[in-house]
């Protein structure tokens, strides 16, 4: 079974019980892109629920509909999300988005990958 997917929007793979989800720079991040990304992740995970490390360092601003979709449908088969953000660019924005559109699962923002992984380890089943 494949456990690695690379599209024009993201790179996704599963390693040691965690889904690593790296956003690439998306010029026009609308609801269609959000739906496609959730679909791809679900297909990769099949029926398994995983904690997700979401690398948002290169992320552009998703539209409002995309944000809504990601916060609700984006929580499907996810036990927790750790956002890995850049302290100078995406951290404040990610924090803002999480307050407006909170995901339905536990989530936290980190600026170091190791800390994010540490947080997620508690959610590996």
């Amino acid at each position: 079974m494949h456990n690695y997917i690379h599209t024009k929007y993201a790179e996704i793979y599963i390693k040691e019980g965690i889904v690593f989800f790296r956003y690439l720079t998306i010029e026009d991040f609308d609801e269609h892109v959000a739906k496609e990304l959730v679909a791809i992740r679900l297909q990769l995970q099949r029926e398994q629920t995983y904690p997700v490390l979401c690398d948002v360092r290169a992320l552009n601003i998703p539209s409002k509909k995309a944000r809504n979709y990601l916060s609700i449908e984006g929580s499907l088969l996810v036990s927790a999300i750790a956002y890995w953000a850049d302290p100078h660019t995406t951290k404040e924005l990610t924090d803002f988005f999480l307050k407006i559109n909170p995901p339905l699962v536990p989530s936290a923002i980190f600026t170091a990958k190791e800390e994010a992984i540490m947080y997620l380890k508690a959610f590996i089943s």
């Binding site: 959730v38 099949r46 601003i61 409002k64 609700i72 660019t89 924005l93 803002f96 407006i100």
Partner: protein, 302 residues
């Protein structure tokens, strides 16, 4: 450009944005300067704020009149061609009837509005027949003026062909000068605070529902108690803010989540039904078919 000029320009742009928001122009967006290393967080945050406010104010204030006085009405076929219209619609756009009938909607609608509408129609066509859906439209009239409108769209079908019926009205632009401030009764401040608290509570209820999609909701009475509201305010306030009832929203969201699971995971329909709190697979299939017109099995990849 020297850093001082850049700083001054940026402050000027921020002031303009704040002014536009204060005037109620939620469509205004700040240009994001990507060529400099200057932090652009504030610009982006203001743009997002405008987007959130627009959504909140337009939907919360416009879509509470079901009986629209003198509505415009037009009908679209599935290829987005106008196949019926009333006199009000014709007059608003300034064309003769034969100049509109059987023409693509793109002739009279702005490109961005048309794009949003097409997306919305796709969504509507996957939902219940005849239900009314709030909608915002922007027309370009024969005189090259833009006309912002709001209204409702209904998806109807005679079994062979489907149509989208629109009825709506123009969003009136305020042209009158600002009115002198009205003297508020002494308890008005309290009323305003109460309204703010209610809105925040309703948003918490909305989040509570989303966090309880896997189970049945408690009664309205219990939800009202949990969020310190009275039952009437909870019921009517939620409907006004979200254009649907609490239980319909809960059911629709569960069905939408189930649809994503059906389409993109190998999980059985029985398991999906149980995980979203349906009593049985048969019960789930019945309400699913009511919403999407087809059974869950139809959407399962072969």
């Amino acid at each position: 450009m020297n850093p001082h000029t850049l700083h001054t320009d940026r402050l000027k742009a921020l002031r303009t944005m704040i002014l536009e928001l204060a005037k109620g122009n939620f469509a205004y967006r700040l240009p994001i300067n990507t060529t400099t290393a200057q932090p652009k967080d504030v610009e982006i945050l203001l743009n997002v704020l405008a987007e959130e406010l627009a959504d909140f104010f337009v939907y919360a204030s416009s879509f509470n009149e079901r009986n629209i006085p003198e509505p415009f009405i037009f009908v679209l076929d599935t290829k987005h061609h106008i196949c019926g219209l009333n006199e009000r619609f014709r007059k608003l756009l300034g064309y003769l009837e034969h100049e509109l009938l059987h023409q693509p909607l793109s002739k009279v609608m702005t490109a961005s509005s048309l794009e949003q509408l097409k997306e919305k129609l796709q969504n509507i066509a996957s939902q219940e027949l005849n239900a009314s859906h709030p909608i915002l439209l922007c027309f370009s009239t024969q005189h090259q003026t833009l006309l912002d409108c709001w209204g409702y769209c209904h998806w109807v079908s005679d079994g062979k062909k489907s149509y989208f019926i629109f009825r709506g009205s123009v969003i009136e632009k305020r042209k009158d000068p600002p009115q002198p401030p009205i003297k508020l009764p002494p308890n008005r401040t309290y009323a305003t605070l109460q309204l703010q608290a209610d809105l925040q509570n309703l948003k918490r209820v909305h989040q509570f529902i989303l966090e309880n999609l896997h189970t049945q909701l408690p009664s309205l009475h219990l939800i009202a108690r949990q969020f310190h509201m009275n039952e009437f305010k909870l019921k009517t306030g939620f409907k006004e803010l979200y254009q649907t009832t609490i239980f319909k929203f809960h059911l629709n969201k569960r069905l939408e989540m189930a649809m994503v699971m059906i389409k993109f995971t190998p999980t059985s329909i029985k398991v999906i039904a149980t995980s979203y709190g349906f009593k049985s697979a048969a019960h789930f299939s019945r309400v699913f078919k009511n919403k999407y017109g087809k059974s869950p099995r139809y959407f399962k990849p072969k």
